[in-house]
């Protein structure tokens, strides 16, 4: 059991600033966030894999009205990024001004980083590469 990737460990890697994705043992597909079954081949055996951290910006928003826990952090970017390895993840956008969202261009290359919110929680983030 202990080698099987779990969601708990996935989240812990992020908190430790050491992002890992799952890799399907059958077909090699890189998957994040975790799934119980590989979309590509139906496999259910996974292992951890590091990623290059390179990706491109697919889409994004700027949150102004949030759940209580996050209201203090507004406005903030949330984006979808496609990693070089093919999988897409939801993350914060870093190093850009949330008050000028229209200046952000889709498709720009981004690189993986981390941001610690006012709540003390660490999020994955991407900044322009």
């Amino acid at each position: 059991m202990s080698e099987t990737p779990t969601i708990e460990q996935y989240q812990k890697y992020i908190q430790d600033h050491d992002f890992h994705a799952l890799k399907c043992k059958s077909c090699g597909a890189v998957i994040a966030p975790p799934k119980g079954m590989c979309y590509s081949c139906g496999g259910t055996d996974f292992e951890w894999t590091a990623v290059s951290g390179k990706g491109k910006l697919v889409s994004y928003t700027v949150i102004h009205v949030a759940a209580e826990e996050f209201q203090e952090e507004t406005p903030y970017f949330v984006a979808i990024v496609e990693l070089e390895e093919g999988t897409r993840i939801t993350a914060r956008l870093l190093g850009l001004d949330p008050n000028e969202p229209e200046k952000v261009k889709l498709g720009i290359p981004v690189k993986l980083g981390y941001e610690t919110g006012k709540s003390g929680k660490t999020y994955i983030g991407f900044s322009p590469a």
Binding site: P33, S59, Y60, T61, A67, R88, Y123
Partner: protein, 390 residues
């Protein structure tokens, strides 16, 4: 093969909006009373109740809502089950009712749904709604419900040139239709300028792109062919039904400019009914956000991918257009008591199809489609309905 046995013989909704001083069960009972005793269907004829409600646990601290609501509404002892699929809770309850009738296990059933949202703060409601997205991978990093649709909007704008003004025009149309609907939360037209007020909820979505927080309930009665005529001369048949899901995470979807579950659910419903988008006289779609109506109008095949905004601009989806969409005002202006919406959509179809939609009556009303979806499109339900004499 079209569904054979399912007829709607009555349908009603409460007023939507802030229903001050009334609890969830009282609102629910009002809709049930209107759709049963108020419509000539004795409560004793009801054999089972299928109830939609999204998140009473967080909004009014109440689970196990089906027997509670059924009992309060005078349906004591009946099998009563709650169905939850976020904003599609109502339509999944309806599908359970359809299967109950088609299976022959029951002759006459109630499908009803309710939500009481205004008793908590906006932030708390936002938090409750966020439970419709993926808590581990979306909500936990501060992504909200409007935020997900904003991400889809940005992708749609980039790919098809849809503009913030196109979205605002959806809101203008919604308010124009709702202005004539006495059960709507907002009964006032708004100008394009007002709809464009830059009060961002999740950029580029502004206040007027978002459906409001509402209380409300709706109910319909389904019965089989043998019994339908005893309640009404104009039953409405549900001829096709489709449901599909998609990954909860937007990031796992194939496309951001189309909701794949909506496409799949509508294809299944059309195939079952043996009909095509051309056969639809009008549609009620899930416009929780203005962009959602534009995308839905494409996903259900009314317009080609990317052509939804143009249809709004040209008035094709207006009440007097070729393909009216949300003729009574949609979620945007009528209100969106989340779990109740799917059943309310069925009520709208029922009233329009039998020609009793009053000032909101569409001219052609033989066949129509309802599209209800849950959360950020992870559940979609499409039903196709037809007046029995059409």
């Amino acid at each position: 093969m079209p569904l054979r046995e399912t007829n709607i013989v009555s349908g009603a909704q409460t007023k939507f909006g802030k229903l001050e001083g009334l609890t969830l069960r009282e609102i629910f009972a009002e809709a049930v009373d209107k759709a049963t005793i108020g419509a000539g269907v004795p409560k004793e004829d009801i054999q089972a109740a299928f109830i939609g409600s999204f998140i009473p646990e967080m909004l009014v601290h109440q689970g196990h809502t089906a027997p509670l609501l059924a009992d309060y509404a005078g349906l004591r002892g009946l099998p009563a089950t709650r169905h939850e699929a976020a904003c599609a809770s109502g339509a999944t309850a309806l599908r359970a009712g359809i299967m109950a009738i088609e299976s022959g296990l029951y002759d006459t059933v109630l499908v009803a749904a309710a939500e009481k949202m205004t008793s908590v703060s906006t932030n708390r409601a936002t938090e409750a709604l966020a439970a419709a997205a993926d808590d581990e991978f979306e909500s936990s990093m501060g992504l909200t419900f409007p935020g997900v649709f904003a991400i889809a909007a940005v992708a749609h704008m980039q790919e098809y040139g849809t503009t913030e003004e196109d979205m605002a025009l959806v809101a203008v149309k919604a308010h124009r239709n709702a202005a004539k609907n006495p059960l709507a939360q907002f009964q006032k037209e708004i100008s394009l300028e007002k709809a464009m007020t830059p009060r961002y909820i999740a950029w580029p979505l502004k206040l007027f792109d978002c459906s409001p927080i509402s209380d409300g309930a709706a109910a319909i009665v389904l019965t089989n062919n043998e019994r339908a005529k005893q309640y009404t001369d104009t039953p409405v048949k549900i001829v096709g039904t489709g449901q599909a899901s998609a990954s909860m995470n937007l990031c796992d979807r194939t496309s951001l400019t189309s909701f794949e579950a909506s496409v799949r659910a509508s294809r299944i419903a059309y195939d079952m009914a043996g009909l095509t988008p051309k056969d639809m006289d009008f549609a009620v779609v899930h416009d929780c956000f203005t962009i959602a109506e534009i995308i839905a109008s494409e996903d259900i095949g009314f317009f080609k991918p990317g052509a939804g905004a143009k249809a709004v601009r040209e008035g094709v989806t207006a009440m007097d257009g070729d393909k009216p969409i949300n003729p009574m005002g949609g979620l945007k202006a009528v209100g969106h008591p989340v779990g109740a919406t799917g059943v309310k959509q069925a009520v709208v179809l029922y009233r329009e199809l039998i020609g009793e939609a009053g000032a909101n009556q569409v001219p052609n009303h033989d066949t129509a489609l309802m599209h209800n979806f849950g959360g950020t499109g992870a559940t979609a339900v499409v039903n196709i309905m037809r007046r029995a004499d059409a």
